[in-house]
């Protein structure tokens, strides 16, 4: 190739005249699989087209190295397999946002055989902006003119034939939501893959030629045959100073320095001549062309004065009514998913419990005192998995409702309303949803909360959201709060509940402000410019599909890791285990319990000749029966349980069945007593094991630090184990505060008594509550933080920072409160007043009008 390179702007050239692209394979033979990239702007209905084309054959993964979802699906046309890749929704292909960069590098590196471009017919001009950029990259292209039904309702008719002629690209009319145009689109895509007819740029850039020419000839002279992009495109991008274009040059072994120098010189010369940068010039020309093409291809009927969406907005976004609608919607989500979903778990829980019972049956049988390791570890893992799976109904509802919110268009309005407040603290309008999910009111889950930050386009605000969402009161924090409130603040419960519910939001806002001002200050930020799409009625299938998809993702990503780490926690709680001496003591106790039992049933024909081994089996049978009865509700279920256990072991069944036989009842009574003894011994052993366990040692080792917050080692162990899953904090405390369990005292009473006798007060409870409210995210959430930030360092930060913060806050409150002799409620009030004041000070520090007029000379220029 020599310097007679093709003109930079093949304006109005028919696509067939375009010279074949250097370095590209010849058209794919019909037998080969084809790769198609699906590109389109946000809200263009791209995902509905994706679902329409591929049906259920989809696979979600991440683009390499980033946290952007990469959806892949397959379908076939004329016996040819086509892989469809859903590119991130972008308004253009500029290098300014992550999604845009991801989409572009996919196009450059993977070189799909066809690019399918979904266009929102209702805003053709804006959509064409992307189309024109795609065309300049030289792909066989097909346009899906989507949402024609909505456009038609609004009196907009786009002439598809004219558009196709104008662009030199086949155009197919579609309605993704209703599956219309599926067959045509598939066939057109298949044909495009066969013909491999490349698109060509249709935008004129007069005056740019002379600056492009030197770069192009240099590229040609260096032999750019292997370049994956058209030469004209590359030259233009180099002139724009685009980093990705520079990378392309470097990667392909060209003399980058010479080319880049020439590009920089050219750009400077252009700027001097035209008083505008190349990037700006291209942007403007493309926009003009888009406007002109859109104008020429659109027929517009005179419209009704106000659209339905606008009429809804007048009420929903009304200054005075808006807060009520917002609260109503948020409350409805909370009620339907958290409250109702929790009720649903009472229906689903028996299945999980049955699963556990099944595991009990399958695993090796328990001994009298000791369980085989496989059994205890297996059950521990089943329990961890169950704790997680128990939330599945909640998530299914939650995700379905969020999908409905997104599809309806109200989510964008929520962001619109909340942005003012959130932006002040370094967050973003779109941070609202993550916070709601994580539990602005007590009861949510940080995992979906962190997941939902995906949509926030401003990276800095997104990071701040990810790191503060875990402060919200998730469902699993509630039991500990309830426990502490009942034990220490029986008279001030409502006030404390109010403090707890609101102080987490305050803390999150303050921390977000702190982080964006410090560690996050260098992170990329973006202007808040967001489409407010028209209201749509969400479709049921769309809601269900998304809900199942996201829930499955949650189970897959979080489930596997939680089960894996639960094993580690198990080991930390289980080992090194009891010494030989202690074991012998317990063996002795077990012996005596057994001999007491034997004595009690002496001469009883039912127990006569029962070996020790059979006796343990009987005890296990007894335990399994009781747990099954507990799990079953209603007469039918009870009858079923009876039936099962009758067939399972007819010899043992008489011991659990109702009977009037005197000797049998005597045996049953003795067995019950023995079972109680056994349970007590096992619990004592468990407590001793935990005390001496690695985790217990760590908890005691932390006492010198945590004592300033008033935490003893028991609290430490509970807090440590709650890192695996919040629920376990209460369970661990239950094991640790054993004394008095026999007298049927509630855990609240026991804790209160023990802590008071140790000379401590409700002040400690306040410190625990404050620490717990700032406590690092649970394991599952940290994994999600890792997934969403794409970095282990941020994950580590999300664990260490809140720990330090919580410890400092709790220690300060405890120490100061102790010095002043404050009561628990007094200390809490003081803490609350302090952070609330801080919130007001930080929030009002910069008046609103100064924030948007100050420091921006451009804003005031040109007034005089």
């Amino acid at each position: 190739m020599t310097s007679d390179a093709p003109a930079p702007c093949h304006a109005r050239e028919s696509a067939t005249e375009e010279p074949p692209l250097p370095g590209r394979q010849s058209p794919a033979p019909a037998s080969r699989n084809a790769l198609i990239g699906l590109a389109g702007q946000q809200n263009s209905g791209k995902s509905t087209i994706f679902n329409m084309l591929t049906g259920a054959r989809q696979h979600v993964a991440n683009y390499p190295g980033v946290t952007v979802d990469k959806k892949t699906g397959t379908f076939s046309v004329d016996g040819r397999r086509i892989t469809l890749v859903d590119l991130p929704g972008t308004y253009s292909l500029a290098p300014f946002s992550l999604e845009e960069r991801v989409a572009r590098s996919f196009l450059i590196e993977e070189r799909p055989d066809v690019v399918a471009n979904v266009i929102d017919t209702t805003s053709l001009r804006r959509s064409l902006n992307l189309t024109l950029q795609l065309m300049e990259m030289g792909f066989p292209m097909v346009i899906a003119l989507n949402m024609i039904d909505v456009a038609r309702r609004r009196g907009i008719a786009v002439d598809a034939a004219a558009l196709a002629a104008r662009l030199g690209i086949p155009v197919v009319e579609t309605v993704g939501r209703k599956g219309r145009g599926k067959k045509e689109l598939r066939e057109t895509l298949g044909q495009a893959a066969l013909s491999a007819k490349l698109s060509a740029g249709v935008v004129d850039y007069p005056g740019l030629d002379e600056f492009l020419q030197p770069i192009e000839s240099l590229l040609a002279a260096q032999g750019d045959d292997s370049l994956p992009v058209p030469r004209a495109w590359l030259a233009r991008k180099l002139l724009e100073g685009d980093a990705e274009a520079e990378r392309v040059v470097r990667r392909n072994g060209l003399d980058a320095d010479a080319i880049l120098t020439r590009a920089r010189d050219g750009a400077a010369a252009f700027r001097q001549r035209h008083q505008v940068s190349v990037a700006d010039y291209l942007l403007r020309r493309r926009n003009e062309a888009a406007g002109e093409i859109a104008e020429a291809c659109t027929l517009r009927k005179p419209q009704a004065a106000t659209s339905i969406s606008e009429r809804i907005d007048r009420i929903v976004l009304n200054r005075f009514l808006a807060p009520f609608f917002l609260l109503a919607v948020v409350y409805a989500i909370y009620d339907l998913s958290i409250i109702r979903g929790y009720e649903l778990t009472t229906i689903t829980w028996p299945f999980l419990a049955a699963f556990r019972n099944l595991a009990v049956d399958l695993l090796p049988a328990a001994g009298f005192l000791h369980d085989p390791l496989a059994t205890s570890l297996g059950l521990w893992m089943v329990d961890s998995a169950n704790a997680l799976l128990n939330y599945v109904p909640i998530f299914l509802i939650l995700f379905a409702l969020i999908a409905a919110l997104e599809d309806s268009g109200y989510l964008a309005r929520i962001a619109f309303m909340m942005d003012r407040v959130l932006h002040r603290f370094g967050l973003h309008g779109q941070s609202t949803l993550p916070f709601i999910l994580a539990g602005v009111f007590a009861g949510g889950c940080a995992v979906p909360g962190v997941m939902a930050t995906k949509g926030i386009p401003d990276t800095r605000a997104r990071m701040a959201t990810i790191l503060t969402v875990p402060f919200m009161n998730c469902l699993a924090k509630v039991p500990l709060y309830t426990l502490l409130l009942n034990a220490f603040f029986p008279d001030n419960k409502p006030l404390m509940m109010f403090f707890i519910a609101t102080m987490t939001v305050i803390a999150a806002l303050l921390v977000a402000k702190l982080l964006t001002g410090t560690v996050l200050s260098g992170v990329e930020t973006a202007p808040f410019v967001m489409q407010l799409p028209d209201y749509h009625l969400p479709t049921l299938t769309g809601m269900l599909r998304r809900s199942v998809e996201r829930t499955w993702l949650y189970i897959k990503k979080v489930g596997t890791i939680v089960v894996a780490v639960s094993v580690i926690i198990f080991a930390l709680l289980q080992f090194p285990g009891l010494g030989e001496e202690r074991n012998a003591t317990y063996e002795q106790k077990a012996e005596s319990a057994l001999s007491t039992f034997r004595k009690a049933v002496e001469g009883n024909p039912h127990v006569e000749g029962l070996s020790d081994e059979r006796l343990v089996a009987l005890l296990n049978y007894f335990t399994a029966y009781k747990s099954a009865r507990l799990n079953a509700s209603g007469q039918e279920a009870n009858a079923a349980v009876e039936e099962t256990f009758k067939t399972r072991d007819p010899d043992f069944y008489p011991f659990v069945a109702r009977t009037s036989d005197k000797t049998l009842r005597q045996a049953q009574g003795a067995l019950k007593k023995l079972d109680g003894e056994r349970k007590l011994l096992r619990r004592e052993m468990k407590e001793e094991r935990i005390v001496d366990s690695f985790l217990g040692t760590i908890g005691r080792g932390m006492e010198p630090v945590t004592r300033y917050a008033g935490f003893d080692w028991k609290i430490n162990v509970a807090l440590l184990s709650s890192f695996a899953a919040r629920e376990s904090s209460v369970a661990t405390l239950g094991v640790l505060f054993q004394e008095g369990a026999d007298e049927q005292q509630s855990l609240e009473r026991r804790m209160d008594a023990e802590v008071s006798s140790a000379g401590r007060t409700a002040l400690m409870a306040t410190a625990v509550i404050i620490f717990f409210s700032l406590y690092p995210p649970c394991l599952a959430t940290t994994i999600m933080v890792r997934v969403q930030t794409g970095s282990y360092r941020w994950m580590l930060f999300s664990i260490l920072f809140p720990t330090a913060l919580g410890l400092v806050a709790a220690s300060t409150v405890y120490t100061v409160g102790d010095l002043l002799g404050a009561s628990g409620i007094g200390a809490m009030t003081g803490y609350y007043a302090t952070i609330a004041t801080l919130l007001v000070v930080v929030g009002l520090a910069v008046p609103a009008w100064r924030a948007w007029t100050g420091g921006r000379p451009l804003a005031q220029g040109g007034h005089s």
Partner: protein, 115 residues
Amino acid sequence: MFWKKSGMNEESKGRRRRFRMRHGKDDEQTVRGGGGRHHGCSLNSQPEGCRCRIRSVGGTTGVRQRLMDLGFVPDGKAVVVRSAPLNDPIQVRLGDDNVSIRRAEAALIEVDDDE
């Protein structure tokens, strides 16, 4: 048409006064041009319901790209639909599209009155 136009101006002046009271004296400059067409006002200073024509889009290339991607293009028409319940951001209609934009970024867009 002339009477209609002056009527509109009266109305918008009233709104602007209210607007100014809410936001302090920094808006003084935008009001100064008061009587006739306001050349070179920013979109931020336009009252609700105001129709205008975009003259130029400022800011860094990245910001400008984003604004233009969403339809804030020179010579395009924009209607200020409403401000959010807390006054910031504002909702702007561009053709058939509704776009939300913070006042800080709206201040980067210069507009002329258009009626």
